[in-house]
Structures are given as C-alpha cells and as structure tokens.
Symmetry: C2
Subunit: 130 residues, 2 copies
C-alpha cells in the first residue's frame, strides 16, 4: 500500500489537515495553510509546498504567481496525526501575500492587534505583472 | 469595546481558531492546538496557554496535570485573522503528552512516518501521580 502514509493522517470532515510552514535556518513560522490528500501527496512528490485553497477550492501551488515557492526540507506529522509541519526554504524571503516575511505580523498589544513587521514588497510589485 | 480584538479573529464554524505554540529561544514548533473565544481571552489575561480541548469539549489549561505550562511571551494573528501564533516559554522542556519535547516527532521518510525524537519522560512519569 503505497498510500498508507496518507491514510495515517486524520483528515477533518472537509478532508483537510492544517499545515504549518516553518523556515529552516531562521525557525520563523511563516504561515498556516491547509492541505487535502492530493496537496500533501503532491507536496511530498514534488518537494515544494502545495496547499488546498479553501477560498478558491482548488490546489494552490504556493509561489505559482508570486515566485515565492517553498522548497520542502522536512515533513512532520504530530502526535495526534492531525497537523503537519513543513520545514521549508522560502524563496524570495517573503511568505505572506501582503509582502511581509511571514503571515503572523499582527501582535496583540493590550487589546489591539498591531502590525509590527514591515512590508518588503507591495502586493502590486508581487502580483502586478507576471 | 474591550473585546474588539476578539471580534477581529475569524472563528471557524465551530467557534475555534488554530493556535501554534512556538518555543522562544529555540524556535521549535511545539504543538498545534485549538482555541475558542474564551480560551484566547483567558490566555491573554493569565499569560499562560489555555486551549479548547475538542475531545473533552472543555477548556484545557495546558500543564494543569503535567506541570508543562506554557508561559506566553507574544501573541500573533495572521494576515487572514484565522490563525494564532503563541511564542511561549515551555516549562519542563516537554510540550507533548507522549513525553517528547514537541508534538511533531513523526518524520516522513519515503512513504513511512518514523518517530525520530526521543521520549524524555514516560507518560506514566508525567501523569502517573499528581
């Protein structure tokens, strides 16, 4: 059974599992995205992060428009088999669609979320032309 | 509106948001757990990680049985407002209920998940007596 490793994953009722992308070297947590079975299988096969876009309801080959591909160094599964951790090399140094290094740039300060990290490239620059 | 920061979070249809715990210093991703509104509010208020246990359907004060409390250093929200990142100080150096440093100890090797990190304390040692 070549797919038994995929059967080991506890997919949720939508057939998805959350996947954390962490940058090797810096250890920065880049993003949390979602994967279905095909996304995880393809990620392992191709060695680049491929997620399931819940908004677009289709496979999302991370970096296909932005060039910000995530190369896979390591794939981990947690103790409950219901969360995945990818260790990746982030191409272009930008993981977030807002043009920041990573997605977790809003910090709780008292009772406010404050954007504490700079935009490195504008969305226009990233997505304006291909 | 003192709770507007909680309203900013996009809770899923079960009223939950995934929360990643990352160890400060080492940068190790410890665990992915879930929070409801009360869990996040209480985490911020008390400065320790408090999750929502989906299996037990109640608040889970991380470390209440094991002593492996996670002290909060930083709370972040992602660009879509639907995932939380906690930077924590992990008491006792063990985050996982299996007695490992963290929960992501199963590594994909070819087509198998292999446990690649040692058990530091047995579950019996952790939970055997209080």
């Amino acid at each position: 059974m070549t797919d038994s490793w995929l059967d080991a994953v506890k997919w949720n009722s939508d057939g998805l599992v959350p996947a954390i992308a962490q940058e090797t070297g810096t250890g920065k947590v880049l993003t949390l995205a979602w994967m279905n079975r095909e996304a995880l299988a393809t990620t392992a096969k191709e060695g680049r992060a491929i997620y399931w876009s819940r908004s677009r309801q289709k496979l999302w080959r991370k970096g296909e428009e932005s060039g910000h591909v995530q190369l896979i160094k390591d794939i981990r599964l947690d103790c409950d088999n219901d969360a995945v951790l990818l260790r990746v090399e982030q191409q272009g140094g930008i993981a977030c669609h807002t043009g920041r290094e990573h997605c977790f740039y809003q910090q709780l300060q008292g009772e406010r979320w404050v954007a504490v990290e700079p935009v490195i490239k504008s969305e226009q620059e990233i997505y304006g032309r291909k």
